[in-house]
Structures are given as C-alpha cells and as structure tokens.
Symmetry: C2
C-alpha cells in the first residue's frame, strides 16, 4: 500500500498524465522496458513514460503475451516508477486473467507499484472477448482505481484490427468497442494495428475520446497523425528492439573492422551514473 | 540447489568456457545485461555470454558499484542463464561483502544460478584490498566452487590500474596480484583500465595465465590484442550503453523528421518471439 503522501503524489501524476492527452500536441510515448531505458527516455524531455509489455517480457526472458506473471510485470513497472519522476503508464496486457477479479487484482497492484495509468486489452488467447465481458473488465478497472483512491488513466485497447482476431468489419467493431469502453470509464482508446491515414482519420472522428495509435514502420509521420487528431502515439516494443539491434550493429562493426570505436559514440558510464543517482524529484 | 543432471551440464559448460581461454583466437565477449540481450548475443554466434554488472544494475534502476543486492544480481544472472544454451560467466563485482564468507555465499549463489564462470574484483570502497585479504577471497571462491562440484572459471580482477585505487607502479602491482591470484586458483586474470598496447604486451608476458582486457574507446583493435597474446576481451557495460544510445538516436530522428522509419531497421517482433521460444538446448 502507498502512504498518504505517496498516494497524493500519484493522484497528481495521474492528472498530469490525463492532461497530456488534451494538449496542443499529440502525447508521444517512447515505451521503456527497464529502469535504465525509462530514465534515459525521461532525460530526453519526454513528459511521461509508457512501458512495453513485450520489451519487459523479453528482458526477463519471456516471449510476448502474458507468459510472465502479474507479479513479474508489476515488479518491472515498480522499478521504472522508482527510476523516474514523470508519470508512468503500465502496459498490463489483458490483465493477467480472464475475469474481472483478475483485472481488479492487476489494477490494485499497478497502483501499489506507482503506475499513473495503464493499458488494458480486450483479447485473450487469440480472439476478442465478448463485448459484455470486455466492458465489465473496463468497469472493474475503473472501480478498482477509484477504490484505491487514484484517478488512473485507463487506456482501453481493442484488438479488432489484430490480424485474425475478428471476422467482420474491423473499423465498425473498433469504433463500437472504443465508444463502449469510453462510456465504461476509459480515458483513452488504444487502436493498434492501424497505419492507414484515412482509416485513422475515420476512427478519430467516430470515437468519442482521445485515440492512441501504435506507431510502426508504415505509420504516417507525427505531423500527419496530429492533423488527423490522434491524441497519443506510442511505439510498443519497437524502441526495445531498436536497442537490441545495437548489439547486432556492434557485432557487425567488430567483425568488419576489429575496432572498438563504437565505444566513442555511446552514452558514457559517467552519464548513466549521473542519471541513476540524480532522480529529479 | 541444482539436481545431478543440471550439475553435470554445468560442469561441462565450465570446461567449455575454460577451453575458450586457450583457443587460437581471443575469447571475445559482448557483455549482456538481461535475458533478451543475452539471447541476441548468443544468436550472433558468440560461444559464451559474459554479464555486465553496470548494465544489470542500471537496468534494475541502480548506479554501478554493488548498490544492488547479491540476490538481485544473481536473479538477473539466472534469467540470462535460462535464456541461453552457451556458458554464462557472471560479473559478481567484489562479491557483495568484504570477507571470505561473503565471497563463499556469492559463489554458491552463482553456481545455483547456473553460472559457469565469474568475475571477482580486489577493490572495495575505492581502494585495493590488502593482497593477503584479496588472495584469501580468491581461495575461498575456488573452494566454494569445488564444494559445489563445479569447476567454475574464476576471472580474478585486479583494479591496480583503476584511477586513484593504487599509489605506486600499477603495472608491477597488477602483475604481482595477477600471479598471486593465479596461484590461488584463478583461471583468468582481468586487468581493466589498460589500453596502451605496449603495457598490455608487458602484462601478458609477465602474468602466468590467460589475461582478460576490457575493450573501450582507446583499446587497440582485436587483431592487435590477439598478437599481444590477450586471451579474453570483454566490453563491460559498453554494449548496454550502446543499446541505450539507440533511444537517443530514435528520439533525434523522430524530432528531426517526425518519421517512424527506425522501425524498418530493427529486429522484428517475430524474430524476438522466435529467439525466446526456441532456446537451442
């Protein structure tokens, strides 16, 4: 449990995070996977940290998709929260259990870990949950956050666009679900696996709340997403995989040249030391 | 505790790792900091994984230098061991305690975590330990490994060259200590903070055992280190910091272009999934 001062601070962080969904610019989130990455992202001036469930899972030795336990995920979230001063929103996958009780336990644990926001998905085992069940889960998340005394920023994700998860018109289903989740207490609606500008524009118009787009290789540039009215842009596990790609680049350079010149082009030991001993609270 | 089959497998890994110090090429180690990085390094064909204590510490939210607990460090080592099939050698700093009992507890925990080798430093709190105390610690590490039934590859590090840790001729002191640690049961002698080729050559000649050099920005290229007779080359926390530097690069590209094109140039989600679900045992 959080003491009352910590709880008050967390309430303020949640309100700060919520306001970032309604600013003049889209909220751009470079998702972190551990404490070091979170602190580096914060040091670059980003006003909030989102976590990536795939990045956290991979770092701990698991493939993506709730193969790690709720406890492992929340312990990773807590480490990121401790490393930074800005609000942290935690990717909690589908809540680590099918029913509303699992969601309640996960949201409670997220608040205890110091998360100011969370993602909650509406698919399990390769298929969308029935809308009624998915709605009950969003309601349960909101109620659990309220009971914990924190206006948690709930980012409700629908996987209507996930290849193979839904048979039918994904756009219609995504809008139906997003609006239902908004009614049920979600603050933001996360619609991943959409990169077509026209579709994004249609979704933003039809959804009655801030829309989060997952940016990937084919996503329109940030300025176009802004024009389309996107409120929040995140990169999922891509930043974590960009970091792992540096390993390949170093190995290739070493193999090609035998030189350790890469060490001249990286964040120094002293910089990381300073970042991790000077949390700007 | 390890069961007898696991113990037999760990013995073989330790012998494999030991033999890599006596091959035709220097043993090149790209130090990993979590399970994902270990698995990526292994996938590139490296025959062993070394861990980086600073990288592990940073990932968990700590600055370098035994700020995290023995338990946290060994839990991270265990995650890396589980993620790969090749031998893992663990950077155990100065053993998480001053006396021989701390070293014994740390080596036991390393064997239980599945480490085939370890680094052990001879400095604490910014100064070299007296030689007698440092020697007793190497002997205690060897005895603890033998008691656990594993021919652990002990990489004894002397910090004689660490700026400010020793007043006097660092080269003479490093050789004296390295040879004493070798006599006490060390398999390899780690002499970081030396990048001058002539000095490296002198050290390799004077030390009666395999020498490990820490490669950094000013280190001679790999081919020259080989000519100088260096048996093992590792990069410490540099690879972890190269990975974190990718965050800056992505942020700068996004700021300059608004484009998410970086996602076209990275390890894919499917590749990471395959790596983490197909441990090549």
């Amino acid at each position: 449990m959080q003491d009352s001062a910590a709880l008050a601070a967390l309430r303020r962080k949640a309100e700060t995070l919520r306001a970032l969904h309604h600013g003049p610019e889209p909220l751009l989130l470079l998702n972190a996977w551990d404490a070091a990455s979170a602190r580096v992202v914060e040091s670059l001036g980003f006003p909030a940290i989102a976590t990536t469930s795939s990045g956290v899972a991979n770092a701990l030795g698991y493939a993506d998709g709730e193969r790690l336990s709720r406890e492992e995920m929340l312990a990773a979230v807590a480490r990121m929260v401790r490393a930074v001063a800005v609000p942290v929103t935690a990717d909690l996958e589908a809540g680590y259990g099918a029913g509303t009780q699992a969601v309640v336990a996960t949201v409670r644990a997220a608040v205890n870990a110091g998360a100011a926001g969370c993602n909650l998905e509406d698919a399990r085992n390769g298929a969308l949950l029935p809308l009624k069940a998915a709605l009950a889960r969003v309601q349960a998340a909101r109620a659990a956050a309220e009971a914990a005394g924190v206006p948690l920023v709930i980012n409700a994700r629908t996987d209507a666009f996930h290849p193979g998860y839904f048979q039918g018109d994904a756009c219609t289903e995504a809008v139906r679900r997003a609006n239902a989740y908004r009614e049920a207490g979600a603050d933001c609606l996360f619609l991943p696996f959409v990169s077509d500008a026209a579709t994004i524009g249609r979704l933003v118009k039809a959804v009655h709340g801030p829309v989060n787009i997952l940016a990937g290789a084919n996503t329109p540039p940030l300025a176009e997403l802004k024009k389309l009215g996107v409120a929040r842009v995140s990169v999922g596990g891509a930043l974590a995989r960009a970091a792992l790609t540096a390993i390949r680049q170093v190995a290739e350079e070493l193999q090609a040249t035998g030189s350790f010149d890469f060490a001249n082009r990286i964040i120094s030991h002293a910089e990381m030391h300073a970042l991790l001993t000077s949390k700007p609270h």
